[in-house]
Symmetry: C3
Subunit: 340 residues, 3 copies
């Protein structure tokens, strides 16, 4: 996709300064941009790059006064950062929207329906009796089991796997290698030391506007549903166990694990590599620091915890400060004991 600077200026309601017939085909940082790229200048710390950039065009503030000649064409707008963000979003949408149609071979089972405007990549698999909305993008090698429901405008990247009976809302994004609906880890210990499988017949439900990162795994419920509510964003390599419920607009960073039947509130922020035990509740707006181990319910909204096991964030910081001085503490204590 190639655009003239004038086309982009019109879109952003900006003014061109320089050659308005210059064409650009990509977006880049001002310090890295080369011919054919459009960059932006918002933070004036980067202004020196404006005079040396290889970009074909740069979006700048309509108030900027040039200190030297600039070889790139300029697009002057009120808020360069916001204008550039708008372009980024257009660009990403355009790339996705370009994927339409059906590549062969791909597989679709009996009784499955799929809405208009969709993309189905080669080697993608859709089982029986699925209901898939409009403008859904199913990349190559995606697996969708029987009786799966998917809402409009959802994108499922290459090789994601959705077990039978999964429900995915509208406007969701599932990245490559995501697994939804694998068996919960349930095994009943027997008297002879062996384990018997506990059948897992529930499913996974993602509400609208949910993002799931690459190679993240969400197990199905034993019965009922493992649920990720509206607007929640989950990073790569996260584990969500059976019968977990994650509230709305919660953010969970990479490599965190949530054990079975735990309930996470709305608007929580959970950092990376956190572990949360099973059968507890985490209140709304809780913040959990990286590598924490959460072993008890959090009852008060807005709590901030850290540590393994996790407790109050500030107290944890203070305890860690003393931890580092423990050998000195020991020495002082030994001396005092000697004297007494």
């Amino acid at each position: 996709m190639e655009f003239t600077i004038q086309q982009i200026a019109d879109l952003l309601k900006g003014e061109v300064e320089g050659d308005n017939t210059v064409k650009v085909s990509t977006l880049a940082k001002i310090e890295e941009a080369q011919t054919g790229a459009l960059a932006f200048l918002s933070n004036l710390k980067y202004e020196p790059f404006l005079y040396t950039t290889g970009a074909s065009a740069v979006i700048v503030s309509d108030k900027l006064e040039l200190k030297k000649p600039v070889s790139a064409s300029l697009i002057r707008v009120a808020d360069p950062y916001s204008s550039f963000s708008t372009l980024l979003a257009y660009y990403q949408q355009a790339v996705l929207a370009a994927k339409v149609g059906v590549e062969e071979p791909c597989f679709i089972g009996a009784g499955s329906e799929i809405g208009e405007g969709h993309y189905r990549g080669a080697f993608s698999y859709i089982g029986n009796n699925c209901k898939i909305g409009q403008n859904v993008r199913i990349y190559p090698q995606v697996y969708i089991g029987d009786n799966v429901t998917i809402g409009d405008n959802t994108t499922i990247f290459a090789g994601a796997k959705l077990y039978a009976n999964t429900v995915v809302g509208a406007n969701c994004t599932l990245h490559a290698g995501v697994v939804l609906g694998s068996d919960g880890f349930g095994f009943a210990p027997q008297a002879d030391g062996t384990y018997k499988n506990v059948p897992q017949i529930g499913n996974v439900v993602l509400e609208d506007d949910v993002n799931i990162g690459a190679n993240t795994t969400i197990d199905c419920a034993t019965m009922g549903s493992t649920i990720i509510r509206k607007g929640t964003k989950i990073d790569n390599l996260v584990q969500v166990a059976h019968n977990v419920e994650v509230g709305q607009h919660t953010v969970i960073a990479s490599q965190t694990g949530i054990s079975g039947s735990t309930k996470i509130g709305n608007n929580c922020v959970i950092a990376g590599q956190v572990g949360i035990v099973g059968h507890i509740s985490i209140a709304d707006k809780t913040t959990i620091g990286a590598q924490s181990g959460v072993s008890k319910s959090v009852k008060e909204s807005g709590t901030v915890i850290q540590g393994s096991p996790a407790f109050d964030y500030k107290q944890n910081l203070k305890a860690i400060t003393v931890f580092r001085k423990l050998p000195e503490l020991q020495r002082v204590l030994d001396e005092l004991k000697e004297k007494n």
Copy 2:
């Protein structure tokens, strides 16, 4: 699959109370069940739901005395929980058993044999010279490299990858995205600061009745085999390095990592996000708490450890209790020092 209440009562050797022609097609929790579902009541804490449930039928104790009218049909049995578990197992088996036959296109190499009653999903790949038993289910997009052996009744869910020479026993379950047989992480440091690959030519062996969770990775041995023994259950996103041996009937929870050449005993319980260093042995019946870092061999059977680095579970708990009070300890010590 739809059954009449009478059919199910006959199966469970129970008595129907109410309309025995009612049909059910799914199983659900009594508090969530809707028309067409069969629920159960075991724990009497849930009895109030019996009088409000939307379930078409409920399995109850043959001793239960009703306090109010019930709209659902009842199936009276001696032990409702056990009867319901039986049905769950039947249900899961029936779903799996329904997958039979070969979906096209799928790939099978020269010299490979596969037993009767199997399922091969579309886009599944079987290399050369594989020996695959009876009633094996190979879901879509599974990869099975050359010279792989798989026992009877094993299920391999969508997109699992088995490198060449892998051996899988009977009655195993491998979930979506599992990788068996990737190269062990072996690189010999060279004098110039670069690394040279150490060839990894061994394989992975799973004995019978092993379960492996979604996106878990098990590396092949440098030479010989990385081995998971009979009845062991491994959760999602677990890492098992080259030449590791895990004993029988051991349970390993999500996101745990076991480094190269370590030997884990029988009947161990390893919680989530545990890290275990290489070249050590863990005795039978060892329990390792979540997020522990195990840096030394465990020699005594039945040991319980926790912490990073891990030591005795109870001592770790006591040390953590004092850790949280460290700022107070420091203050008291400073005062005493002042006085002396």
Copy 3:
């Protein structure tokens, strides 16, 4: 592949002792080897196995004096370990080289070019406008998005997923389930508590001689590139976030996570389950112990750190030693306080 002992002796410039027509087809440890296998004896601790081994042939030192009769044929060389390593490398290369040609069905988009001597497995997918070098092995079910570049002699195992615009160098190895180029985890919090996606339009660049372990995920940059430099080796289930740069000849063990925009130096060694926060720099030759949490930049080359949060390795060890005695410390302190 089957070779006579004489053929192998010629390759290694060794001398055969015993029957030089014996044939071998595999390599094994001396204590596990059976008929048809070639083993080696380097560490004399293993000499007793020489007299009992089932191997058809054993590589031994040209200086070794036999204490008993040996049934296996011997190949005498100057350095048995080095000779055996040479054979292992030949063996692994031979296995890889045996995969040549195109298995159908596979998919290749418009405008894509691929060099001579390549392997493309069934159900592999190559998008539009890709440039792929010579002797590249693309295993079954690999996904390669549009505009991807791949250098000569690179191997991509089954089911790895490369998003559009990824660049992979020569002599790289990507294991099964690797994901390169998934969206960075960028979401802008809005005033109403919801999150807005920050478009991620950059890519992932791997330089030459890079190895990536099974199910590891590397996110694309927001703009520009997430970069893994020449010779770096990354283990299984590692997370590398957007805009990270990892230097040359660095080793990163399993389940480690590196947050966004962090820069790791050359020749670092990062152990398993480490977490590194975003927007920091780690100096060259830094060593980071297992399960560490790194929250601050490391400025001095050759630093060794451990702990969560991580600090000097030796000080951490000393502090941990006292940590384990904290209940005793508390008791002594309480007594002193009583007295004073």
